[in-house]
Homo-oligomer: 149 residues x 2
DNA sequence: TGTTGACCTTCCCAATGTTGGAAGGCGTAA
DNA sequence: TTACGCCTTCCAACATTGGGAAGGTCAACA
């Protein structure tokens, strides 16, 4: 399977696949005689997993750890479990944080009549902001800004 | 007001303030004779606004939009509300995805509750995800990896 | 008055993840 | 065979944040 096909099947761009190989997030696959990368179905599965985790906001480092949970056959299952539990806990906290944000925004949106008038509690709130939703670390933040060309 | 004081008062680091000026998110303020940037209270308000919007997950692009609405005395509250609703929807979808991920990890953890790990169904659950949260552009994404020094 | 220490300035660099392009080699269908 | 679309590598850029160097400035204190 070409890199192009693997890209299409996984939802990860060819560029990204090469990059992931370069940073050793995925292993370097075999090459054809012509030097083309040759992918198998499991590789696509892994890529799809990465894609999904990325979409959910996991960093590459975190995905590395996640992947290793499944990949490393020689690891004691107790270790795997321990790491998984840590990850789950982190996930729960992140979810809570996001729910806070959503709740705040929803509250503001409800209060906002959404008409032609300039009164808008959302802006008022943003302006005054003693920011809430702190307390789970140094601002794990949502960079929305991801290349919308 | 010095940039340092403005930073402290607004919660935006001096580095970031200069950066925001550089990318024209905020206007370039006046300088003292010595070339120091000189901030007024309204500037601090604006910075605080930015800080809070950032914490709530708005992208710089969105903040630009929000700021222009904020600065515009005659804006319609509907415009602001629309932006907020998009954010909420995005948040909701990501929360759902995270919950799914947590469930998968929990499954993995259960799976290896014994001492010997059987072949955990590696990515089966995860891989099935015809990824959600698509359709509003190239994945407004959460870089969890935000410099935890 | 001079010195010290805390501030400011600009500039360059790092890392994160992703995309774009250039320059050239392969593979296949007409 | 030629054309076109894929592949290869390398280099640069984006956005956001922090780190640091080299030098100027300000306020306070001896």
């Amino acid at each position: 399977m070409n890199i192009g096909q693997a890209a299409q099947a996984s939802g990860v761009s060819a560029k990204m696949i090469r990059y992931y190989e370069q940073i050793a997030l995925i292993k370097a696959v075999g090459r054809t005689a012509a030097g083309y990368r040759d992918y198998a179905v499991e590789d696509v599965h892994e890529l799809r997993f990465i894609r999904r985790a990325r979409d959910l906001g996991f960093s590459i480092a975190e995905i590395t750890e996640l992947l290793s949970l499944w990949r490393d056959r020689s690891r004691r299952s107790a270790d795997v479990k321990a790491i998984a539990l840590v990850r789950i806990e982190d996930l729960r906290q992140r979810i809570a944080g996001m729910e806070q944000m959503a709740a705040t925004l929803e509250h503001l949106a409800e209060c906002c009549s959404g008409d032609e008038r300039p009164d808008c509690p959302i802006l008022d709130d943003l302006e005054k902001g003693e920011y809430l939703a702190q307390g789970h670390g140094p601002a794990r933040r949502l960079h929305g800004a991801v290349h919308k060309p």
